[in-house]
């Protein structure tokens, strides 16, 4: 006998809801920021990772970020370390020396105190490492089911280095500049997927979650012609490259076999049908630098333990087409577009 279920399709047009794709860091996230937030708050483009505030002649970078991750502990880090590194990196790529952070916690009722201690210990350790101080914060506890374990928001501020206000906005970027990435892409995504037990097997991949400010600081001390920096997080390298193309109005060419990808990440991407260029990272920066200084900058990065695999991956072209072209490993070429949503595993 058939189950007595008679179902009818609801004919409401349901396009007006937030979907997970709005949070994936790709094109829909950009539209949300542009059309909903920035237009109402009066924030002008270009959108950068940090706001630049003028405090009686001294320029301050100011940024904030919320961290929600499942699972909260993963190989190479946890939500606490992530919350410090992420905000430190947003300040560092704005050309600032990160100084002070705030930390706000939304905690689900029933959360284990032991885990909270582990997370806050990890934050304290990372803050020490990154030479920042966590100076204020807030705590809210919500009923079970009203949030997923723990959400952390960190806000940070730091002083912009003299003459580096331009690195967030890309205003100095010009044709011929070289693009450098500080290391292999995709490790954070793969480590988290593996920790979620989504892969059906254990991978050895560890998240790249790290504060980049000290390495970036050394590079800025050595090189005078760094024209742009951005940390590569959700949306991956492809998204940052496209953002840069739009900000500058110029074309970008990158060479696929120059982009460092660790073997286990590569293998996993082949199997799952993922493109590593769209996978999230938490300790990588993309840099645009004057051609004459590109090898020097790469050398400084490579001398740091966080940048040993830094590589020059492409350049800014004179084409005013805002398009990123990938020279493929086969010698062919194709557009490298911004991703429009979450990457989904292949079917077969």
């Amino acid at each position: 006998m058939k189950a007595p279920a008679t179902l009818f399709i609801n004919t409401n047009v349901m396009d007006k809801h937030i979907t997970l794709n709005h949070g994936s860091g790709g094109r829909l996230t950009g539209e949300l920021i542009r059309n909903i937030f920035a237009s109402r708050f009066g924030i002008k483009e270009p959108f950068t990772d940090s706001a630049i505030l003028d405090n009686q002649g001294q320029e301050l970078a100011f940024t904030t970020d919320s961290y929600v991750i499942d699972p909260i502990f993963f190989p190479g880090g946890d939500i606490g370390k992530l919350a410090v590194c992420g905000t430190v990196n947003d300040l560092a790529v704005a050309g600032a020396i990160p100084r002070f952070l705030s930390a706000s916690f939304i905690i689900e009722e029933g959360f284990r105190l032991k885990d909270l201690i582990t997370i806050t210990d990890s934050m304290a350790r990372e803050a020490l490492e990154a030479e920042v101080r966590i100076v204020t914060g807030d705590t809210k506890v919500v009923e079970k089911g009203k949030c997923d374990k723990i959400f952390i928001t960190t806000t940070g501020t730091g002083v912009i280095r003299d003459g580096y206000k331009h690195v967030g906005t890309a205003e100095k970027v010009r044709a011929g500049d070289m693009l450098i990435i500080s290391g292999p892409v995709g490790n954070h995504s793969v480590a988290v997927m593996s920790a979620r037990n989504q892969l059906g097997f254990i991978s050895q991949v560890v998240s790249d979650c790290a504060s980049l400010n000290c390495m970036i600081g050394r590079m800025l001390d050595t090189c005078r012609e760094i024209h742009f920096m951005r940390d590569i997080t959700r949306g991956g390298l492809a998204t940052v490259l496209n953002e840069l193309a739009v900000m500058t109005g110029l074309g970008i060419t990158v060479t696929e076999n120059k982009i460092p990808v660790d073997e286990p990440v590569k293998g996993l991407c082949e199997m799952m049908g993922f493109d590593p260029l769209y996978l999230a990272n938490e300790g990588k920066v993309l840099i645009a630098v004057d051609k004459n200084e590109s090898e020097k900058a790469r050398g400084v990065l490579r001398s740091d333990s966080l940048g040993t695999k830094a590589e020059i991956i492409g350049e800014i072209t004179g084409d005013r087409n805002k398009t990123v072209v990938l020279k493929t490993i086969t010698g062919g070429s194709r557009i490298l577009d911004m991703h429009s949503g979450t990457q989904l595993p292949r079917i077969c």
Binding site: P4, T330, G331, I347
Partner: protein, 363 residues
């Protein structure tokens, strides 16, 4: 990476490109019927390596793209049932039905979960006895054995809250339908992964009956380039046969165990294909002895039958039949984008429109 890098070296690809160019003496139209090939061809920029007289067309090989509107509507209706958890492969949740999609229903509270295989859905069923777990079985000979294995296991273990809503299809009849439809092609880049299951024998009738070149190809750039070279040679020599380029994975007989699993659970039936209509004996229907696991049998699903026609301006059907290329559609990259797909071919990474949009916007 071993077993991958060897098939991606620029020097090898360049050599193949040169040989193809030397050999190609007329106009050639080849159709790839596997979505994996469509994605690989565009991802590696294969068209930019081929001479202008070789034209590659995408066929009906993207599992998500060919799943008919009515199936999506029934899945959406089922998703609204509060006891039901819908499980499916990722892309399918984004495919627009006639009025909604699984993704939109998920936003409104339906329990829709992405799984990697039918066996994951079976595990979910074992862990959620108070719910009915419906797996949406889509795809060809590559995914059907997995669904069959899950159904056999469900029966053995008595997991009676596990069900399948089945839209599995087989590939050879669709290729024959394309030929009968009059699409002008000289040969097929035959689906490599499907052929690992079916064996090359399943495709032989195409070269023998219709005098068309057939090469079963792998998915790396060197595989595809070599397959194109082999197709060109067959046509130039007027010797039409079904050859295996992907010999590291494909045999003449295929995977007999997987074939047995499929045969145990499924029987052939006529099936609806988006864009191609009903094709005789092209679908896999759950056999009578597994009928208690057939969601369409367990639930009476009523959808409004009147509104299941495709949007008249969307050319997905023409694209799937190899009649049109994506940029020829008026909606392409304008009203229809990956964020707001109007047709199924824009949804999946294996869909022709999505691949064109991502890698080759201007055609």
């Amino acid at each position: 990476m071993k077993y991958i890098d060897e098939y991606r070296t620029e020097r090898l690809i360049r050599t193949l490109a040169r040989k193809i160019k030397e050999e190609a003496s007329q106009e050639y139209v080849f159709m790839e019927v596997c979505g994996g090939h469509t994605a690989a061809i565009h991802r590696f920029g294969i068209p930019s390596l081929l001479p202008g007289n070789i034209n590659l067309l995408s066929g009906p090989g993207c599992p998500v793209c060919v799943t008919p509107l009515g199936f999506i509507d029934r899945a959406v209706a089922l998703a609204m049932h509060e006891d039901v958890i819908i499980t499916t492969f990722g892309d399918l949740i984004r495919v627009p039905g006639s009025v909604s999609s699984l993704e939109k229903e998920k936003v409104r509270g339906a329990d829709v979960r992405i799984v990697f295989s039918a066996l994951d859905a079976l595990t979910l069923a074992a862990n959620n006895k108070d719910k009915k777990i419906v797996f949406l079985g889509i795809g060809f000979e590559t995914t059907a054995p997995g669904t069959a294995a899950a159904l056999i296991k469900a029966k053995e273990s008595g997991t009676d809250n596990f069900m399948v809503m089945c839209a599995h299809k087989i590939m050879p009849p669709a290729m024959e339908a394309i030929i009968s439809d009059g699409t002008l092609i000289n040969g097929f880049i035959c689906p490599g992964h499907v052929a690992t299951i079916t064996g090359s024998n399943a495709f032989r009738f195409i070269s023998e009956k219709y005098n068309l070149a057939c090469v079963i190809s792998g998915f790396e750039p060197a595989d595809i380039m070599l397959a194109v070279y082999m197709l060109v040679q067959q046509i130039n020599n007027r010797q039409f046969k079904t050859e295996i380029q992907y010999s590291r994975a494909v045999t003449d007989e295929g995977n007999l165990k997987a074939q047995r699993l499929m045969n145990e659970v499924f029987e052939l039936s006529d099936a609806g294909w988006r864009g191609l209509g009903t094709i005789k004996s092209s679908g896999l229907k759950i056999r009578e002895k597994y009928v208690m696991f057939d969601a369409e049998n367990v639930f009476q699903i009523n959808t409004e039958e009147t509104d299941t026609s495709e949007d008249g301006t969307c050319l997905c059907g023409e694209v799937l039949r190899g009649r049109k290329k994506p940029p020829e559609c008026r909606l392409f990259a304008k009203a229809c984008t990956p964020e707001n797909p109007l047709g199924a071919c824009m949804v999946s990474g294996e869909g022709a429109c999505n691949a064109f949009y991502k890698y080759k916007r201007n055609g």
